[in-house]
Structures are given as structure tokens and as C-alpha cells.
Symmetry: C2
Subunit: 413 residues, 2 copies
């Protein structure tokens, strides 16, 4: 009566990932040159360096008057200094020239006094403040210097990266192609959403979830349909999927108790086939990792939550690797206080779904009730999860945890 | 020599937003029915209720044997109970029937023992554990009950919402149309990225940043081009933009020192025109809010960082309102420790850019150096900002702050 009849041993998440990735010899997807205007959210394939100093010249950061700062030594509101306004290219002592924000600083000048601090009278201005050298001047290269790195390979380009690259006059960038991921659902009981249900049938819902998780990460999902619990038919779908996709994700048919169809269907297609089956995690224990034609096959449980957690743990770093991005940075982490204790299983990483709310500067993590723990509604009622390590039997009330956030945070007032 | 010659008084962010929104009488954009498969990231326009219980029937959560839990009273590993395997529709005492995950629970049964905890022998199984009522049974309606709300109007649909709606057999949803936002850059010194620069010319980069900030929030940006510092020409562009867009954002020409062109161009088009000009914030003080034909016009500074902060403060809640989403939830907040003190101006909200890194369970916020403070590179070197309130002269080293995160977090090892 061993607990884990089907799995001789469970593999830790880290060991499983290492085994899988080592065999995959994943190289980043191919690269593509695209206009900067279409690069939002794409992953940069090359380091981009500044081709010149930005700003290109010393320029005024404000509307005001350019002058020599040493001229304002001893100046105060009660003892203002008077400057003669000039249009000359070079500013001498006691001279000044009007500049607008962004204008080049005239030769000789080294500071700008804001318009608001001056009084103009008959071609002269009175300045009542002492100015430091460089005050209100944006110096050539202070933003970014020629040869400095503007954005690193592997950066997922946000609007600000695009702005910086545009500032450098860059119109096109090399980005990583989006990996194409085939997604197959298996199970006799599954029917397409909206069709008529009978007996023990249920709607197939894992594909829409997994497809959009792929989209969110910058991969292109490819719907391989629903297949019956038939090893030969599943093999055929997998073969066809791997021909055109960079990887395939399946859901269903992984449990070792009853039917263990997908791992068998994978192994029928060649070696090495399934390289890990049975992970020390909960949910998602029956997840299997496979390699065929050096391409990844991720065999997820049919349980909606287990398949999501399996995706999180294995597909997320996989797609990150295919895109060349770091994986550690992909979910926002929030430090929160557990509001209730949670029980977990020793020897596995347990993924506890929580709802994080903010109360002033404090974040509270409420465990999402165990009601329907295998149900996707625990992912919509919650907005993050906490990982309980293998060597812990749970989380304490009041314990500080790091929550991986996947939904909007609510604010308590 | 008043500090704020141009602005008689600065308006607080909250007052400015209230004045603007009151005059806009913004109603949510119109709604549209779309297939669930295209609804990722869209904002739900209607509350969606469960039309039936999920699960639709009591079903097994595991592979195993369905039985009556009362039959396992007193059962232990050393004193197992024996059950006769049956295929009957109803389970009597001392009977059991094999079920796979997802199968309906037979009449009479109220718990399922996992396959791993049983031994089969000649049409009988031995069970060595005591089972509680309902063990390993997913009860009808435990996930979501008929009539319960599945997703609220105003929800930005993530993959899990789509999964839950699919589980309910929903194939189409009503979503809010994406607001169309015209984006105009103004300034004699601006040229399109990639063209030849001469004199004090610079590349126009605010449109690509603002456009993609719009996209990120689910609005459709519409490029209205670059306009010279010419009031009449700017008015004409604004008029054309407002004809087809739901709102217009401009950058440049807001400063009161030198040229104050855009507010003038706005006011030439009708009333109320500019309703707030000069905000108690830094950067972004010369931002103006306007209303024309009951549509919003957001007049941002030309400074790259000031325009981004102005967008953050005003366009973000505006687009949220147009979409019908809550604004408070739109940036992830991270509680972090300031690693250095920062000086800010009394009487204004100061937006300090920081780089947040995680070190184990601790988040550290490093202020991004003041070097090039108006430069977009402060937004790529940083990944969040901290708001210093009006009544504070800065932030202390070691102070705990809430960071609004706009970029990936790095992890220190």
C-alpha cells in the first residue's frame, strides 16, 4: 500500500528542469529584424549600444537665461546681479542669453537661471539666486554616452525601452521569433465548449487557458484539438504537431492509476521520449517531460489547476529559454502576510493559491478556500500563489511569504 | 520673483482629476460581443453568472474506488476492510466500484479511496485507511454554483477567467470597445526618428512611448504626427483628431515660460477648453487637462519623463474609466526599503524613479541617479517609482515605501 504506487520516485522540480533542458539543447528561436514601432513586448535578440551621446549637445533643461555661474557668487534676493541680454554666440561675464528648454547652451555659459527667478528691465535681467556650475544644464552624454549599452539582449521591450532606442535614432531592432507551441487536449469525456453535454462529459477548457498563458509570454499557441483516449491517435496528433511547432503541450492522460496514455503515445514516437514522469509537486504530480526530435513535449495533467501549475513550473521557463529571457523575473513577487495557516505535504513543493489584498502599506495573503481545489475558479478567486517548500508541512498564520502574482491586486480601504 | 510666475496656483492631482472627470461626463466606451477565444486581455462589459452548477454532478477527484465512508470506521493498515467490487448503479455497504478521475460517483457512495491505498484480490479490494465523508469527491456546485457570479463587469480577462467561462459553456462575451486615442507631438525642434538631425533638432520619441503605454492599457493609439510650434496648425490637428478619436494626448508646448501654444490651440477650439493647467507634481508641473466636445484632451509636457509621469497620473485613470476598469489595481505595488535618501519638493507629489531588486524575501529600492533626470533612460535603468507626498521633503534611507512597478524585477543572489 505504498503512497506512490505508480511513480517509483518523484523528481524535484529543479532536477526535472535540468534533465529536460540538458536533453533539449534548446537554442533560442531564430531572430528577425522588425520596425521599432512593432517591437513592443518583443524580446531583443542583440545588445543595442548608443551610437552617440544623448543629449547630443549641452542643452537647457528649463526656460530661462544662460549665464556664467561664477557671475552669481554672492548673489541673493537682496543683492541681485544684473546681466546684459545678448544674442551673441559666446557669453562673456555679465552677459546672458535667453534659452528655451532643449536649446543648446551658448559658448561660455555653464548654467541657466529659470525665467521665474529673473526680472527683465530694458535689455537687462536681474538674477536673485546663486547658481551652481551646471545648474539646469543637461550635459552632453549625461543621459547615455556613446558606446554605452542602451538595452541588453533578452530584454522584453517596454514602452520606455522603445523611447530610449528612438532617442538614439534606431528604427529597427532584431527580436527573437515567437515560439510556436502546439496544444493538444486528450480525454474521452471532453467536448468542445458549447456543444451538447451528456453523461459524464465536460467541456474542454484547458486549451483556452494554456493558449492564452502562451500568448501572455510571447509564444504563439497552435490549437491541435481534442483527441480521444487512444494511444495511436494521440501519437499521430503529436507527430503532426511536432512537425510544425517548436514544442507541444498536452493535457490529460498522464495519471498512472488508470490510463497513462500520453506518455505511452510520446514514447511510441521515438527516443528519448519521456525523460521525467512524476514530479515532487502538488498539484501537478503526474506531469511528464519529454523530448522528441530535440523538441520539448510537456505532458500536463488534465486537472485544470494542475495543468496551470505545471505550465507555470515548466512551460514558463521553457518559453523564456526559447525567447532568451531570464525566467526569474517573469512574475511579480509581493511580500505578504498569511492570514490563515495552510497545510501542505512534506516532500513536495505545494502551490497554494491565495488572494492578496493591500491594506495601506501592508499586503495580506488569504488562502483561497479548499472548496473545489481542482477548479479553475480558485485561480479567478485568487490572484497569486505561494510555494511551500518540500521541507515544510505548511504555512503559519502571520508568516511572511512571497506571493507570485498573476492577477490584479485589490485594495482594502 | 515668485517661484511660479506662470501658474497662479498649482492644482493637486486629485482635484485636477475630479475637475476633469466631472466635466467629461465620461461614459464607458460602447460594448461589443466577441468570441471567448479572442477575449484575452479585454475588459468584460457585463457581469457573467453561472448558468449551472460546476461540477455538474458529484465526481471523483482521483482514480480509485467509490464506497461508503461509514464502512471504513475503525479501519487501519493493520485491520483493513474488504469491499466487493461491483458494476452496479448503486453501492451498498461493503461494496465498491472503480472510478477514474472525473467519473460520476455512483449512488450510495460518498467517498473515494485512492487506487494507491488499495490492494485488489479476486474481485475484492482491501482498504487500509479510514475515509471521511466526501473524501476525494468533487461535489456538484463546489466549484461554482448556479446563479453565482463567475466574472464581474470591469474584469480584465486573464487566461483563468477564460477557463472558468469556458467551463460554463460560454462561447461569447460582451467586452468594452478599445478607446481610440489620438497622439500628437508638437515642437519646431522635433524630427521623425531616423531623419537627418541638424542644429538643435532632436528625434521625436514621445509618440512611440505614449502609443505603447496606450496599447498596454488596452487602448488603440492613433498617430497624429508632429506639428510645428504654430497655434493654428496645432488647433487644426486637434480638431481633426477629436473628430475620429475618443480623446487626444499631446506632448510639448505646455510650458508657461516661453511658449504656451497647445493650451492656446485647445482654447481656440471651444469651451470649456483647458480646465486645469499647472499640477502640484514633479515632474509634469506644466501638464494641462482640457475638455472639448465632452472629449478629453491631455496636454503633456514635451520632456520625455514628465510626459510619461503625466500619462501615468492622468491617462491611466482616464483609459481605465473609458474601459470601465478600476484604476487602483493597474500597477503592481511592491513594498521595498529605500537604500538611499531622496530629496523632494514640499507642496508637490514627487515621482522618484527607483530600481527595485529582490534579495531573498526583501525588496530594495535604489533611487535611479539624478544624472539625466529628464531622460527616458531613467525609466529603463529603473523599474518603478515611488510617490513622495506633498507634505514630505523627501524619503529617508531605510524607509519602507510602496513602489509602483513598471518593469521586470531583478533578483540578487
Amino acid at each position: 500500500m505504498a503512497r506512490l504506487k505508480g511513480f517509483q520516485k518523484l523528481t524535484s522540480i529543479n532536477d526535472a528542469l535540468k534533465t529536460w533542458f540538458d536533453l533539449l539543447k534548446i537554442n533560442r528561436c531564430s531572430i528577425k529584424r522588425i520596425p521599432l514601432s512593432e517591437a513592443f513586448g518583443r524580446v531583443l535578440a542583440e545588445d543595442v549600444f548608443a551610437g552617440e551621446d544623448i543629449p547630443r549637445f549641452n542643452r537647457s533643461a528649463v526656460d530661462g537665461y544662460a549665464l556664467r555661474s561664477e557671475n552669481t557668487e554672492g548673489t541673493s534676493q537682496f543683492d541681485p546681479t544684473v546681466f546684459k541680454i545678448t544674442e551673441a554666440e559666446e557669453i562673456a561675464l555679465n552677459q546672458t542669453r535667453q534659452v528655451w528648454t532643449g536649446n543648446p547652451i551658448p559658448q561660455g555659459a555653464n548654467a541657466v537661471v529659470m525665467l521665474e527667478y529673473t526680472k527683465e528691465r530694458e535689455g537687462k535681467i536681474e538674477v536673485g539666486v546663486k547658481l551652481a556650475w551646471g545648474k539646469n544644464v543637461s550635459r552632453k552624454g549625461e543621459d547615455i554616452r556613446k558606446g554605452e549599452i542602451a538595452a541588453k539582449a533578452g530584454t522584453r521591450l517596454n514602452p520606455f525601452h522603445l523611447g530610449l532606442l528612438a532617442t538614439l535614432g534606431i528604427m529597427e531592432v532584431e527580436v527573437v521569433e515567437k515560439p510556436k507551441i502546439g496544444i493538444l487536449a486528450t480525454g474521452d469525456e471532453l467536448v468542445e465548449v458549447g456543444e451538447k453535454l451528456s453523461g459524464n462529459q465536460i467541456f474542454e477548457t484547458n486549451r483556452i487557458v494554456l493558449s492564452n498563458l502562451c500568448r501572455e509570454l510571447g509564444a504563439i499557441p497552435w490549437n491541435l484539438g481534442i483527441e480521444k483516449d487512444d494511444v495511436k491517435a494521440i501519437s499521430e496528433k503529436l507527430r503532426a504537431g511536432l512537425e510544425k511547432a517548436d514544442g507541444v503541450i498536452t493535457s490529460g492522460g498522464t495519471s498512472v492509476g488508470g490510463l497513462d496514455l500520453v506518455p505511452e503515445a510520446v514514447n511510441n514516437l521515438g527516443s528519448p521520449g519521456v525523460v521525467v514522469h512524476g514530479i515532487a509537486m502538488r498539484p501537478g504530480m503526474p506531469t511528464a517531460l519529454a523530448v522528441l526530435q530535440e523538441k520539448p513535449v510537456l505532458v500536463l495533467s488534465g486537472n485544470p489547476v494542475a495543468s496551470v501549475i505545471g505550465f507555470e513550473v515548466f512551460a514558463r521557463p521553457l518559453i523564456g529559454k526559447m525567447l532568451g529571457v531570464k525566467t526569474e523575473v517573469s512574475r511579480t513577487l509581493v511580500r505578504a502576510v498569511m492570514t490563515k495557516k495552510v497545510i501542505a505535504a512534506l516532500g513536495r513543493k505545494t502551490f497554494v493559491r491565495v488572494k492578496v489584498v493591500r491594506k495601506n502599506a501592508e499586503f495580506l495573503a488569504h488562502p483561497v478556500s479548499a472548496r473545489g481545489s481542482g477548479a479553475i475558479s480558485t485561480m479567478t478567486r485568487g490572484n497569486g500563489f505561494v510555494i511551500v517548500p518540500e521541507n515544510r508541512e505548511g504555512l503559519l498564520e502571520g508568516e511572511i511569504v512571497l506571493v507570485r502574482v498573476f492577477g490584479d491586486l485589490e485594495v482594502l480601504s
